[in-house]
Amino acid sequence: MSSLLSVENLTMKFGGLVAIDDLSFNAQNNQITSIIGPNGAGKTTVFNCLTGFYKPTTGQMYLHKDENKVSLRKYTDFKIAHVAKVARTFQNIRLFPAMSVLENLLVAQHNELMFASGYSLYGLLNLKSYREKEKQAVDKSKYWLDIIGLTHRADDNAGDLPYGDQRKLEIVRAMCIEPKLLCLDEPAAGLNPKESAELNKLLKFIKNEKKTGILLIEHDMSVVMGISDHVVVLNYGKKIFEGTADQTKNSKEVIEAYLGVDE
């Protein structure tokens, strides 16, 4: 199987603090790769490096698109999503709360729509080509809303949705940019068991039907063990274990990192 993302010797220092220490791992296409570890292990920092919010101190991150090898270091903030097609969600949900659910999904398709609207010129003239493109964008939004069962609330404000729905909406909003790699930062945080199960279903759907690689940070082990194809365990910025879910469960290093060592 082809590798989608390869992280090579990634190091991120904040002053004297080494948040990530010489981390290397691969994520495969059509797989869910989980990054787990105790609090403060540097998981979110890895995400912030990958998605251009931080510039890593040293190390390389490559995304394999078709036959090309794209270095993510070259892109900063919005270009990561726009050009490199890496989408992410956030630990604390970042929807546009005062905008409707549909609008949230349309903002995710901003660049295509902007181009179709001739940078607003055709849009102001209300040309047919733009109207058709807008209709397509609405259809695409509807497709995703149908999957998460929120079509009936498309015109409500995103901030008015229940918490679990907001989580799902944020994930499908990220999917609307048609990413190669989807990075999810604790998507199951604060969900009840039923909602977690729905989330698992959604992630499996994205993996199988959309052929998108998923990188997942998660504390909820029922989610991690249920859907991960590959698990990377971090502690104090270092990779301490890498393997399948089952291997991870039985790994001595991982148990020690989480529960401490017997005296």
């Binding site: 919010f53 919005f78 969600t89 546009f96 005062a98 609008e103 901003h110 609207s117 607003s120 609405v138």
Partner: protein, 422 residues
């Protein structure tokens, strides 16, 4: 109601009276009169006690009311009725408003004074609509909007007096210049948000004004620019006695000469300009760039994670907002025929921001209501001279107390999947 409550609210109102005394004592109580050589102080304790008494009584009534857990019935019913009108029948409201604005100059009670006030209100409505793009939609608090108003006015004045070009050529040019200054301001403040952005834009407004005062060779400094050409009605000037071989408006249409013609023309000019601003804003709000502005206001980091370019998005908001400020500025210049830096002080920016905020961020109708309310009230109380700013402040306080999110704070989605349910 408990006896304790009454005592408590009575104490509270006495305290209010104390504060009122401290404020009104020196401001109202001591009046300086100039007699012969020097100033003499005449105390006016009667008025002070009247005002303080009113404050105590008012506070007491409010306290008792809130203790009873009932609101002022008439106010709440008024405000809910108000919300009802504007939410459900926004379109009817807008059409009625525009129709009224169109026939306004020909109503029997309309005189020169009314027209002048109406033109002023419309200018502020247009400025409010322009600023609404920057503050209401993109969420960038711009306290220096008057700078673009000034740039528009001065570019119009300078181009028109230097090259003698007509209003209709100078107007777009003034808009372009203002938009250029919008981008110029936009670049350094891209990274700033909230309070910091407000401070820098405030500074920008002052910089422009100070340049206008000091760049004497070009702007004529504090003396201002005089003799700015008046607009003509498609080439027909509004003159009592037109030049040899030239038709003026009243001779061409065979009318009696009246100064009102020009006023009415100016009125329609600003009405059309304002409506264009409104139409443009309503349109662009529904386009991707408009949605990106609102998304940027909601959450900039989420925008970046979705591939929205925040730099371009902010700059377009600044440029387009500034352009409409520039249009309004050229209108101002052609109406006054004289401009000086004095017309573009910070208080103008503050009034425009107040109109946008009090109207309800992003609400087009709210801007209209707030302009009429704020400018109208200061005009009604013009006889009170320096005290009319109290009326202005009072109007702001009233809106903030009863409508803390602005007169009209409801936002309609730009696109609906299920259509209008009503």
């Amino acid at each position: 109601m408990e006896k304790q409550d009454i005592i408590k609210s009575f104490k509270d109102s006495l305290f209010t009276g104390l504060i009122a005394l401290a404020l009104f004592g020196p401001i109202v109580g001591l009046r300086t009169v100039s007699k012969g050589e020097g100033l003499f102080i005449t105390p006016q304790w009667g008025i002070v006690f009247l005002l303080v008494g009113l404050c105590i009584l008012g506070r007491f009534l409010i306290n008792i009311n809130s203790a009873k857990k009932t609101e002022f019935k008439f106010l709440s019913s008024f405000s809910s009725k108000f919300a009802h009108i504007t939410e459900d029948k926004a379109k009817h409201f807008a059409i009625t408003g525009i129709l009224f604005a169109v026939v306004f100059p020909f109503l029997p009670f309309t005189d020169r004074y009314f027209m002048d006030v109406a033109i002023m209100i419309l200018t502020y409505i247009m400025l409010g609509w322009g600023l609404n793009i920057v503050v209401g939609l993109a969420g960038l608090l711009d306290l220096g909007y008057v700078a673009f108003y000034a740039v528009g006015a001065y570019s119009y004045a300078l181009i028109a007096t230097t090259f003698g070009w007509s209003f209709w050529i100078c107007l777009p040019l003034a808009g372009v210049f203002a938009a250029f200054f919008g981008i110029l301001l936009g670049f350094p403040v891209l990274r700033l948000r909230g309070d910091y952005l407000a401070i820098v834009t405030l500074g920008f407004g002052e910089i422009i004004r100070i340049i206008l005062i000091n760049w004497y060779e070009v702007t004529n400094g504090p003396d201002g620019i005089t003799g700015i050409p008046r607009p003509s009605f498609f080439g027909l000037p509004f003159k009592r006695s037109p030049d040899e071989g030239e038709a003026s408006f009243h001779t061409f249409f065979g009318l009696e000469y009246s100064t009102m013609h020009r006023i009415i023309f100016l009125y329609y000019l600003i009405l059309v300009l304002a409506l264009i601003t409104n139409y443009f804003t309503l349109k662009i709000r529904k386009l991707p760039v408009g949605r990106a502005w609102e998304a940027l206001r909601e959450d900039e980091i989420a925008c970046k994670s979705l591939g929205v370019n925040p730099t371009n998005t902010k700059l377009t908001a600044f440029a387009i907002g500034a352009m409409f400020g520039g249009f309004a500025g050229s209108f101002f210049a052609t109406r006054q025929a004289f401009i000086s830096p004095e017309s573009f002080t910070f208080i103008e920016s503050a009034i425009i921001v107040a109109i946008v905020v009090l109207g309800g961020m992003g609400s087009q109708t709210g801007v209209v209501l707030a302009s009429i309310f704020l400018i109208g009230i200061t005009e009604i109380f013009r006889d009170l001279e320096q005290f009319r700013m109290i009326a202005f402040g009072g109007a702001m306080v009233l809106i903030m107390v009863f409508k803390p999110k602005g007169i009209l704070a409801n936002r309609k989605p730009t696109i609906l999947m299920h259509g209008d349910k009503k």
